[in-house]
Amino acid sequence: MRRLLPLLLLLLGTALPALAQSTSSPTQAFPYTLKTDKLPNGLTVVRVPYPSQGIVSYVTVVRVGSRNEVEAGKTGFAHFFEHMMFKGTPRHPEGERERILGTFGFDDNAFTTDDITLYYSYGPTAGLPQLIDIEADRFRNLEYAEPSFRTEALAVLGEYHKSAAAPFLKMEETLNAAAFTKHTYRHTTLGFYEDIKAMPEAYQYSRDFFQRWYTPDNTLLFIVGDFDDDQVMKLVREHYGPWDRKTSTITVPTEPPQTQPRSAHVDWPQPTQPRQVLAWHTPAASANTQNAAIQTVLVAYLVGPTSPAYKQLVLEQQLVESIGSDYVDHRDPHLFTLTATLKDERHRDRVRLALLREVSKVAAGKVDAARVKAIQDNARYGALMALQTPRDVGIQLGWYAGILGTPDGLQRHLGHLAKVTPAQLSEFTKRYLQASKLTQLSLTPKVDTAGGTK
């Protein structure tokens, strides 16, 4: 099961680096310096000098995602709201942003996840003064009319329809609804379909959403490239300084512990490969624990390209097209998953049991230390390979800062990755990847004869 559309495969084939601190390593995986300041209003501003020949990336991460959607009927709003953020202000009415940033040739976009909303502009450093002005203005003074809001709701619906063609969205919806009974992770980032269809009616709510979450103390700004730091900070203080709202507090319902195995099933009405997902409740990512790093290493250990399961199921027996994981670091406890794309429904149990066997081995303390080291090497070099442009650096930094709530989230994560031990993998597996915490999702194609579907 995948997330929605691969909007930013910017890190195709990458892993994140372990900070290369040990003297034995000739290679520093993250050779960049962060300059971090916090404005009096709580806005965190991080600058990263990067030799980029006049290209800059400007990333704003707001710590709001579908996790924050606690009101019934209002799922999908963090994502919808991300669309609305491009709609203008009294000083820069609709169309103005495009004319200003378009003139420079900025790639200007955004994405929303369960936990964060990330905005990025990537283009010539020459446009930085205008960019700072217009960005600060929209975060402070966004304003849009109801007709514009209603129309944009239809673009969001179009986005849902586009994503619904492949089985992944339905799988994610079904798994989340089975695994979560109370927590807002029960719905996906796009939100429930019924709620999306009702979005045009929620104009006032969208205004409240902005006031609640688009606040300086809930936002981090990353600027990566070659620019004059003093000049940039002067502009940032001038334009963002007056931004003065305080973030709201909500109580995201805690998910009660799962005590019994659960299962869910999808009949997919078109030809597709059968699929199997194993999902266990696991702890959140946080800046001060190894939990996210352990899960990251565990994915590679259990189902990565050098894992016994991969060799056996993919290469030797050819029972599956692929195995993998949809594990993603989350702010609150989420799911550790193993996924298999089967070639034939008949092998479902064999594949499922083979994956569970690998989990049992780790839980029993049978961990190959050499493979753990190889995974850590892959992580370190993979990071260096991945960071090819200021955009890559900005988005990675923004992502981890948003999840972990600290501007140096990426480096912390790298530090944690480098320290994961075989014993930790084993302990974690024993503690969390238990049958009582497991939700299994299966998908089977159910197609009428003659290729038609009901």
Binding site: I55, H161, A165, A166, Y327
Partner: protein, 535 residues
């Protein structure tokens, strides 16, 4: 083979991203029937050419070397581009080139099984990948210089001594068949629409079939076919060698001397036929789906190197640069009318480079296509959206782009085109494409050309070289017969909105609603998606 990830930001970021903006200061679209005063004499625009001949691309010398060394990176980038692609698939063995390249890249070498190959590359986080298009196949690699000697052995063995074993062939063949049966036909309406348009406009041409192959073609391929094909097409005379990043003379020499053991020549080049440009056809692929995906286009004789290409490319970017919200179609169809998630236009064949919004490099084509992509719309709006795209395409031919908008788009491309060349693989890709198109310093030349264009000079080119009447259409939808009837009838497609719209927009709608589509009612066919690319 993709380097596997620990933290796949692919997954992390495969989320919902979108920019949504409005057009710059409203330029009310002039009523359609009015000619702007600046337009040249109101003669009918030239008709689309009835034939698009195959004027061969240039042939670089065997194993031509392109080096873009850079002292400030520890990464070495390899890019080996062979002038072979799916056009070299023998009839009845469609998919052979792609399957052969994949088996070479993933199936191991004579020294290493596929599993050992993965084991060797993994701690390096090295990349070793292949990508096949109609006329070109690329083997690309990236590695940190800490591992260069070992990686160089593996990378060159993939080409010189691939394992080509039967079990891996079966595995990859099954995957390739699944890609057609489960991926293309079922799970990606937008990709299906694009592939269907390809098949329609290049019917009977070696470009027509899906690069990944047909189900029956893939089933008929034997291990002997693969072994023979590798020798026939992965040859020195078809190869350009690209190196970038941490490159020194020793690496250049070592790589070239090894690749010198490839066969010098192999199969004769495929002679591509002239495309007889038939317009006004539509294919409707029927499948279960919530919405309707639309692609339209025609075979286009204007390609890079033609003096008219830059103005045409500029105008199509104005209409809709891929996934950029500055485009006219995006603003008119998505932002103002709420029809869908996006609408884009392309002056040459476009395949998104994963992880970017930019076109892939090294997918050069002898015969190009000009296309418009309408992302899925509500089925009840499919005809209106199609007409809407046609309306704005027509406008380009009828009237110059207003000066203010022209200046905006020129500035946009001056900056945005720099983003296309920010990484070593992409820089190499452009340099290699330039050898085949005969366009040295292509992007710099484009930016230079932009400085000299005027709304009138661009429009002069569009009047001669942009032909909305030449369009063909591909739709993917559930109620195919209803759509076919609507298209055949030519009846107006009225449009209503759930929110207030400006009078200017409603006036434009009046022109869109009844706009005649360039469709021949006897050339609209309905096909079940489940039979697409069967053989």
């Amino acid at each position: 083979m993709k380097t596997q990830t620990l933290v796949s930001l692919t997954a992390l970021l495969s989320l919902v991203g979108c920019a949504s903006q409005q057009k710059p200061a409203p330029e009310p679209t002039p009523p359609p029937a009015q000619e702007a005063t600046a337009t040249p004499p109101a003669e009918a625009p030239p008709k689309a050419p009835s034939e698009v001949p195959a004027i061969p691309l240039r042939q670089p010398k065997p194993m031509e070397l392109v080096v873009l060394a850079r002292p400030d990176t520890p990464i070495v980038t390899f890019r080996l581009v062979f002038h072979t692609g799916s056009i070299d698939d023998p009839k009845g063995k469609e998919g052979l080139t792609a399957l052969t390249a994949t088996l070479m890249a993933e199936g191991g070498t004579q020294k290493l099984t596929s599993a050992q190959l993965l084991d060797a590359l993994f701690p390096m986080a090295a990349e070793l990948d292949t990508s096949v298009d109609k006329e070109f196949t690329t083997f690309s690699g990236r590695v940190h210089r800490d591992f260069l000697p070992r990686y160089l052995d593996i990378f060159t063995d993939v080409l010189l001594a691939p394992r080509l074993d039967a079990a891996e062939l079966e595995r990859l063949r099954t995957n390739a068949i699944s890609t057609v049966e489960n991926g293309l036909r079922s799970a990606n309406d937008e990709g299906l629409g694009k592939a269907a348009l390809d098949a329609l406009i290049y019917e009977g041409h070696p470009y027509a079939h899906f690069i990944g192959g047909t189900v029956q073609g893939l089933k008929s391929i034997t291990l002997d076919d693969v072994k023979a094909h590798a020798q026939r097409v992965f040859t020195q005379d078809r190869l350009v060698v690209g190196l970038a990043g941490a490159v020194d003379d020793a690496l250049k020499q070592s790589l070239l001397s090894r690749l010198g053991t490839l066969p010098a020549t192999g199969a004769p080049r495929v002679t591509l036929p002239t495309v007889t440009a038939t317009s006004g056809r539509a294919v409707i692929l029927q499948k279960q789906t919530l919405s309707t995906a639309v692609s339209m286009g025609y075979v286009n004789p204007v390609r890079r190197g033609d003096p008219d290409f830059f103005p045409l490319a500029f105008a199509l970017t104005h209409l809709g640069e891929h996934r950029q919200s500055i485009g006219l179609l995006f603003n008119e169809l998505r932002e103002k009318r709420g029809l869908n998630y996006g609408d884009y236009a392309y002056a040459e064949h476009f395949i998104e480079d994963p992880g970017t919004t930019y076109n892939r490099t090294n997918i050069a084509r002898t015969q190009q296509d000009l296309t418009v992509w309408i992302r899925p719309v509500d089925p009840s709006h499919a005809v209106f959206a199609t007409r809407g795209a046609l309306y704005f395409l027509d406008q380009l031919v009828k009237e110059p782009i207003p000066q203010e908008r022209f200046d905006l788009m020129r500035g946009f491309l001056q900056g945005y085109s720099r983003l296309w060349e920010q990484t070593d693989p992409r820089r190499l890709g452009y340099a290699i494409d330039s050898l085949f198109y005969g366009t040295p310093n292509y992007l710099e030349q484009y930016r230079q050309a932009l400085t000299k264009m005027t709304p009138q000079s661009v429009q002069d080119v569009l009047r001669r070289r942009l032909h909305p009447s030449a369009l063909n259409f591909a739709f993917v939808t559930q109620d195919a017969e209803a759509l076919a009837s609507a298209l055949r009838s030519g009846q107006p497609s009225p449009m209503t909105y759930a929110s207030d719209k400006s009078q200017a927009l409603l006036d434009v709608d009046k022109s869109i609603i009844g706009l005649p589509l360039p469709l021949r009612s006897d050339a609209i066919t309905v096909t079940p998606a489940q039979s697409f690319m069967e053989k």
